[in-house]
Symmetry: D4
Amino acid sequence: MNKTSLLELLAEVQRGTLTPEQASGRLANLPFEDLDYAKIDHHRSLRNGLPEVIYAAGKSPEHTSEIFARMAATGIDVLATRADEATAAAVLAATPTAKYHQQARAITLRQSPPAAPHGHVAVLCAGTSDLPAAEEAAITAELFGAKVTRLYDVGVAGIHRLLAQRDILATANAVIVCAGMEGALPSVVGGLVAVPVIAVPTSVGYGASFSGAAALLGMLNSCSPNVCVVNIDNGFGAAYTATMIARASHR
Amino acid sequence: MNKTSLLELLAEVQRGTLTPEQASGRLANLPFEDLDYAKIDHHRSLRNGLPEVIYAAGKSPEHTSEIFARMAATGIDVLATRADEATAAAVLAATPTAKYHQQARAITLRQSPPAAPHGHVAVLCAGTSDLPAAEEAAITAELFGAKVTRLYDVGVAGIHRLLAQRDILATANAVIVCAGMEGALPSVVGGLVAVPVIAVPTSVGYGASFSGAAALLGMLNSCSPNVCVVNIDNGFGAAYTATMIARASHR
Amino acid sequence: MNKTSLLELLAEVQRGTLTPEQASGRLANLPFEDLDYAKIDHHRSLRNGLPEVIYAAGKSPEHTSEIFARMAATGIDVLATRADEATAAAVLAATPTAKYHQQARAITLRQSPPAAPHGHVAVLCAGTSDLPAAEEAAITAELFGAKVTRLYDVGVAGIHRLLAQRDILATANAVIVCAGMEGALPSVVGGLVAVPVIAVPTSVGYGASFSGAAALLGMLNSCSPNVCVVNIDNGFGAAYTATMIARASHR
Amino acid sequence: MNKTSLLELLAEVQRGTLTPEQASGRLANLPFEDLDYAKIDHHRSLRNGLPEVIYAAGKSPEHTSEIFARMAATGIDVLATRADEATAAAVLAATPTAKYHQQARAITLRQSPPAAPHGHVAVLCAGTSDLPAAEEAAITAELFGAKVTRLYDVGVAGIHRLLAQRDILATANAVIVCAGMEGALPSVVGGLVAVPVIAVPTSVGYGASFSGAAALLGMLNSCSPNVCVVNIDNGFGAAYTATMIARASHR
Amino acid sequence: MNKTSLLELLAEVQRGTLTPEQASGRLANLPFEDLDYAKIDHHRSLRNGLPEVIYAAGKSPEHTSEIFARMAATGIDVLATRADEATAAAVLAATPTAKYHQQARAITLRQSPPAAPHGHVAVLCAGTSDLPAAEEAAITAELFGAKVTRLYDVGVAGIHRLLAQRDILATANAVIVCAGMEGALPSVVGGLVAVPVIAVPTSVGYGASFSGAAALLGMLNSCSPNVCVVNIDNGFGAAYTATMIARASHR
Amino acid sequence: MNKTSLLELLAEVQRGTLTPEQASGRLANLPFEDLDYAKIDHHRSLRNGLPEVIYAAGKSPEHTSEIFARMAATGIDVLATRADEATAAAVLAATPTAKYHQQARAITLRQSPPAAPHGHVAVLCAGTSDLPAAEEAAITAELFGAKVTRLYDVGVAGIHRLLAQRDILATANAVIVCAGMEGALPSVVGGLVAVPVIAVPTSVGYGASFSGAAALLGMLNSCSPNVCVVNIDNGFGAAYTATMIARASHR
Amino acid sequence: MNKTSLLELLAEVQRGTLTPEQASGRLANLPFEDLDYAKIDHHRSLRNGLPEVIYAAGKSPEHTSEIFARMAATGIDVLATRADEATAAAVLAATPTAKYHQQARAITLRQSPPAAPHGHVAVLCAGTSDLPAAEEAAITAELFGAKVTRLYDVGVAGIHRLLAQRDILATANAVIVCAGMEGALPSVVGGLVAVPVIAVPTSVGYGASFSGAAALLGMLNSCSPNVCVVNIDNGFGAAYTATMIARASHR
Amino acid sequence: MNKTSLLELLAEVQRGTLTPEQASGRLANLPFEDLDYAKIDHHRSLRNGLPEVIYAAGKSPEHTSEIFARMAATGIDVLATRADEATAAAVLAATPTAKYHQQARAITLRQSPPAAPHGHVAVLCAGTSDLPAAEEAAITAELFGAKVTRLYDVGVAGIHRLLAQRDILATANAVIVCAGMEGALPSVVGGLVAVPVIAVPTSVGYGASFSGAAALLGMLNSCSPNVCVVNIDNGFGAAYTATMIARASHR
C-alpha cells in the first residue's frame, strides 16, 4: 500500500462507501512496512545526509560498477569500499567522475556542493602497514563531510612521535586509531584526549597476532574508558561513527 | 621540576646568571612530565567535567572506602563501580551521603549543583538478565550529567517490543545497547537510529555463549555501521563514551 | 493506539471532521506496534497452543514464584526450566498444583484438559550423566503435548544397545539426542531414522571436552544430513522444536 | 549371506536336513548386516523418497561425473553439491539432462514425474553475499519436492524489509535462515513464526567473523526457542531437514 | 526375540507350519541385537579379562556404592575412578574388602586369584603435581594385571634424572607419561624407548597452560612417532590401552 | 672423545701414566654422548627393525631425492611421507626401484628380504575423503612388516557397513581409525574390538570442522577407553605405533 | 655407578685385571647420569649462586614447610612462591627466621652474608591490581641479589606517569613489566630503554581479557624488539631471567 | 620548536623582552617532543650501537630498496628482515655491497669497521624445518656484533644429539632456541645452561600445531625458569634481546 492507495481508502471512508469498522480491519492488516519503508529511508537520508555505500568485496567488478552508476544517477555522493584495481577500472569506466584511492581501496564520487567541514576527525595509525585501514577511515570521513587530520606512524614503541602531536589531537571532535600487532595505541591516545576514541584493530602482524585478534583483544581491554572498538580492518565503520560524533559536536 | 623551579630557572636567565644556551640544555633534559602531569590532570578535569571513578573489583572494602572518602573530600562527584554489598556498607559508613545502586553494583556521590542534563542517552537491554550492565551504564550516564531513558527487555525475539519504542529512540543523542546470548540487538537498533550505538556484550547465557564471547563477536560483526563495541559487561565504559557524545551533541 | 482510538479516528473521517489527508498523516506515524503487539501475541498463542515458559536461572526464587503464579492464574499450562531446589520450594508453596522434576530441574503446571498426544518424540541420551538435559527435553515435550519415549544410556561405545531399539526409533516423528564427550550418538541415530534429529550437546566430560564444546563441534559436523543442533545442555529448545515437528507430522 | 542363501538354509530346515538347533546356531552368527544393509537402504529410499546426493568437494570432475551418471542410470533424481564449473562441465557432458545452478554450486537431475509440492519451505538470507548457501538450500528443497519461497536480502539492520514479508513467512511449514556476520536474523525470524527455523551460519564476513564462527555462535545462543543450527555454509543439510518437516506438515 | 523364540520359529519351519519364505521375512526383521547383545558381552569379558569400571565423578556416593557392591557380588575385580573421600567412605562401608587409593582417587577390589603379571608398564610423570593422573594410571594397570614401575619427577628441565632411568625404561612393554605445563616429557621418552608411549596431558600449570590444553597440544605434535595421546588427566584410559599392549607383548 | 681416544686414556691408566683418580676426573667430563650417539642409533635399528623415514613436506624435491638415495645406499628399507608428484618424480629418477603411492603421498623402497608379516593391523576410514591419511597409514604399516586389512568408507551414519566387518576386525592386533568431520568412528570401533585403537583425526570437513579440530576433540573425548589419538592427518604416526603393537602381539 | 665403583674399575685397569678395551666397553654402558647428576647440580649451584625455590601452589602447608626446613638446614637462601596464608603460617612455625611477603605470596629466607647488589632490575606495573605479580618479581630479584627499583601504577592511559620515571629507567640493567588488560606497557617501555624488557602478562581484567590471554597476546606482538615474555602472572620467572641479565651486566 | 627557536626564546628572556612568567607559559606548551625526538634517537644509537632494521614483509621491493639505500647512505650497518627473492634483487641492485641470506630471508650491509665480537650467542634449532627462524636469529646476532654458534637439528626425540653439545652451550652468554611442533627443546636447554634462554616458537608443524600456537604455549609453560619467549618465527627479536644480554655479559 502506497500513499495513493491509503488516501483512496480514507476517501472511501469519507464518502461512506467504507465504514470505520471496515477500514479499521483493513488497516490492521495493512502492509505498513511498505509505507514505513519509504518513510524510514526518507527520514534516514534527511537526518544523516550521508552518502550511499557499496561493500565491493565479493561482488564482481561489473556488479559493483552497475550499482555505483545507478546510485550516482540519483545525484548523491557515493562510496565503494574494499574495491580492488579491477573493480576500480570498471567503476571509473562507467562513472568517469569517480575517483579511486588505491591505498584505501575506496572509490568516491562527490556530487554534493562544497561545504564547510562538519567537525574534525583525527585518524592515527601505529605503523605504515596500518595505512589501508587508516586511509579507508580518512577517505570515508572526508566524503562524509568531516575535516580529517592524518597522524600516521605514531606507534607506542617511539612514544615521543605521538606526544609531539598532542596539540593537534586536542582539537579533534573524535579520534580514530588504527593499530595491529599489540594494538596498544588507542589506550595511550585515550589518555591524551577528552573525546571518544574509535579503535580499529588491523590484521597487521604475524604469528600470535592471529590476523588481528591480538590487537582486537587488546583494544577491548583498554584501560582508557573513552575507547570503543570496531571489527578488524573496519576503517569504514570507524569513520561512520566518528563522523556522526564530529558532526554532532560541530553543531 | 615544578612551576616554582621553572620560574627560578627563567629568572636566572633574566638576571644573566644563566645564558640562554645553558638554560636550553637544562630544559632539554628537564623532567617536563612533572609539570605536564599536573597540567594534563588539570586540563582533563576542566574539559571533561566528569567525576572521579573507582573500579572496586579486587579492592578490599576498606581500601575502596578510604579512596572514596578522600575523593569525596575534594568536593567533586564520585563513582565506584563493581562494588559488592560489603564494599557498599564500608563506603556508606564513611561517606553517608553516598548512594548504593544494588543492581548496578555502583556507588555514587553527587556533590555538584543540580544542572540541566547534557544530552540524552538511551540505554537498552535485551533481557532482564542484562540489567546489571544496563544499570551500570544508566547510573554512570546520569551521574555524568546526561538524561537517561531506560528501554529494557526489548530483545529481538519479540521485535515489536523494540519497534514500539522507536519514537523515544529517535530523540537520543547516543544509544547504549546491552545484550548477551546472540548479541543481535545492537544491529537492529543501529538500523533504526541515526546516532552512534555503543554495544555492550554481557556475560548472560550458557554453553556456547562462552561467558559473553558469542555476543561480543556478534556485535563486532554488526552489519550496522554505526555500532561500536566495548568489553563484556562494561556498562561503565559505554556510558563514559556515550556521555561524551551526548554532551557534544547537546552543545 | 488501541482499536477504540483507531475506530474513533476513522469515525472522524466519516464525520468529515478529519480529511483523508490528515488521517493519512496520523496513521503513517501511528504506534502500530501496540496494535500489532496484541495481535501477534494472540495469534501466536492460538497457533502454537504452547505453554508459557520461565527461564529460572539467575532469577530469585521469589521472582520466579511470583511470575509462575501470575501465569498460572490465566489458566494456561506453565513451565519453569533450570529451577533449583530452593526455587522449586518457593514455586510449589505459591502454586501447590505445580510439580517439580528434580533431575530435569523443571517445574510444570498442567491446567489444560487431557488430550491425545500430538505426535511422538523419542529422547535418547548417551550416558547417565546426560540425564539432566534429556529429562529437561522429555518433560518439556510431554507438557507440550507429545508422546515421549525415553531411550537412555545407549552410547556408541556399546552400539548394540542402540541397535536393539531401532523398532521404537522408527515410530518417532522427531528424535532428540543428548550426548556429551565426543557427541557421536546423533550421527549414528541420524543414519537409522528418517525424521529430523535434534542434537543436544551436553557439558558432560572433562579435559578436552571443554565443557561441551567438543560434543557441540562433533554434532555440527555430523555426516548425517538430518541432524541439526541446539546450544549446550539446551534440552528445552530441542523439545520445543521437536514438538513442533511431531505436531505437524501428527496432523 | 544373501536372501538366496537364507532361503536355502531355511529350506534345509524344512527338508529336515538341518535341525532347528543347528539353524539357530548358524543364524546367531550370520552376517546379518549384509541382509540388513540392503533392507535398510531399501526402506530408507521408500520412506524418504529423497534423491541420491553426491558431495563433490574434494572429488575429481571425472569421479563425480561417473558417480552421477551411474546414479542417474537407476532412474532416480540426483543432486551434486559443492560442484565447481569444471565438475559441472564434466557431469553435463556425461549426463546432458542434468542442470547446473551456478550460484548454488549444485547440479540437479530430475527424473521423477511432476507432482504437487510436499509442503512449503521459506529460504531467507541476510545479504546478497549469503546467496551461495541460500541457493544451495533452495535448490535442494525444490529437488526434494518442496515449494520454496525465496526472501533474500532481509538483514536485521533494515528490519522493515523483513517485517514486510511477514504474511508470506506465516504460510511456511519450515524456515531456513542463512546469515553471516553477526548471524542475528534467525532470532528475529524465530520470533515471527510458529514453525521450526533452521539456521545456516555462512562464512560471510571478515576479521572477527572468523570465517563464520561468530555467526555460528550467535545462532546457537538464539533467544528464540524454535531455532536450531547446522554447520557453516551447510545449506544442503538445512534443506534436508526442512524438507522432512515440510513434508510431515503437509500430510 | 530370545533363543527360545528363535528355536520355536525354526521348529515351525521344521513342522512345515511356516515356509522358508515366511521365516526369512520374520528373521530379516528380528531384533538380532538382543541375541547379539548377550553374545558380544560374553565375548568381550572372555577376551579382555578386564575388571568392571565405574566412573564415579558426578555420581552420588550412594549411587557409586550400590553399583560397586552389585558388581563385586559377581566375583570379578572392580575399579572406581575419580572417587572422592565421601564416595570412598560409602563404598568401603558397603564393600569392606575394597581399598581406597587417595592420591589416585581410585577404589579397587581384587577378587581374582593371584597371578604372574601380564607384561610390564612403566608410568612416568614430570613433576609431583602430576601424581593424581600417574597414580590413577599405575593403580589401574596393576589391577588389570600388569607389573608397574613408577618413575616419578623426571621432568625435562633436569634431563639427567630421566637418563638415569634408561635401563629400567628399556624393559617396559609400554610406557605411560604424565606431564602438565609444556608436556615435553613424552617426546624425550619416545626417543629413548622402542615401545609405544601413551601420553597423558595433565591439568597442572597456570596461566597459558589453559588447564592442560598446552600440554595436550604439545603431545599431539610430538616429534617422536611412537607417541599417542589420551584426554587431559585420563590416567585410566592410558592404563587401559597400555595394559592391552603389555599383555599382548607378554604372550 | 671417540673410541680411539677413550682407549688411549685407558691405556695410560694401564701404563700407570694416569692414576685411576685422574682418569675418573677426565671421564666424568667426557663427551660420552658421541659414543652414546652411535650406540643408541645402532641399538635402535637392531631393536626396532624399522625403516628410515623422511618427512618430505617443506623439503625441495632435490633435497628429498638426495636423502632418499643416500639412505637407500645403506641397503635398508626407506619411506618418504607427504611427498607430492614433483618430489616423487625426483626420487624415482634417482632411485628407480622406489615406488610412489599417489593417494598416500608416500614413496617406499623395500630392500629387505620377504618375510611373514609381523602381526595384523586393520585400517578403517569413515569416508572416501579420509583416504590420504588412511593410505599413508596402510602403506607405512605394510612397509614396517604388518599384514594390513583396509576397511574403507564405514562411517557411522550407515552403521551396518561397519558391523558387517566385525569378524575381520576381531582378528586385528591393532586398529587404526581415520575420520574427519565429527570423528565418531573410533568410539564405535573401540566398543567392538578388544585391542588398542589408534585414532587419526583428518582435516576433512568444512566450517565448524576447523580443519580437523572438531574430529580431534571428539576422539580425545572418546567414551571407549581403548582409544588413543595422534595428530590431525598423522597416518604415519598411527601406523608406527600400531605396528609396534601388532609386532609385540605377534611374537 | 658411583664414584667409588668408577675408581674401582679404573684400579682394575691399573692392576691389569681389566684391559683398556674391556674397560672401554663397560664405560660406554655406564650409568653416567648418576655421577653426572651430582656433578651437574653442584656446577649449577656454583655457577648460578641462586637460592633454592619451592613452588607452593598445590602443595599442602605441611609438605611445603618440611621441604623449606630441609633446604634451610643446608645454609642456603630459600624462596617459596605462591604461598597462601596457611602455608606461610606453617613455614614460619618451623623456620622462624623466614619472612612472609603477603602481596607477593612469597616466603624468603636469607642466610647468605650481606653483599653489594649484583646489578639493577626495575620492576614496573601498570595498575595496582598487578601488584601480586610485580611484588613476586621484586622479592625474587632482591633475594637473588639484585638492586630492585619499583615503579608501580604507571599504566599507558596516563603516559606522563611513566615518562616522569625515564631517568630511573635508564639506569636499570633489565626491566620487568607487569600488566594485565591490554598489556600495552612493555611496548612503550621497550621504546624508552636500551636493555631487555621481560614482560609479565597478569590475569587482571574481565570479559575479553580471558584471564590474561589478551595481555599475553599483546606482549608477544610487541613492536619493540627488546621485549620477551613469560607465562601469565609468572613474576618469579621474569625475575629469574632478569637477575641473570643484571648480574651479567654488572660484572 | 627546534633548538634555534628555543635559544631565541631564551634570548628574549635574557633581553628582558619576555618575562620568566611568559616564557614559563610558552615552555609549558612547547612541543618538546620534536627536540626530544632527535635527542632520543641520537642517544639510542649511541647507547645501542645497533644497526637500522627494515621489516620488509608487506613492503614493495622498490619501497624496501629505497629505504635500505637511504639508510646505507648514512654509513651505518643495515638489516632487512623477511625479504623475499624479489626484494633482495631490488635491494642489491641499488646497494651492491649488501648481502642476501636466502634461508634467513635477510639482507645485511656491514659498513662498520671489523671488531672483536661482543659476547657469545648460541642458536639452536630442533629440526631442519626451523632453519629460517634460526638463521634469521643467527644473521641478526652476527650483524649486531656477537659471536654466533649454530647448533642445529638437536631436537628432543634424539636427546643425545643435544647432550653432545653441552660443552659448547656452557660457553654462551645467551641461548636462542627455535622449535616448532611441541616446542619442548627450550625447557631441556634451560635445564642445561645457566644463562637466559630466548625461545622462538616456529610455525613448523601441521594439524594441531595450529601454525606454531602449540609450540608457543609449550614454551610459555616451560618448567625451566630461565626461559622467556618471543612471537612465532620471530628470530630477529630473539637475536635483538640475546645480543643485548651477550653484550652486557661481555663487558
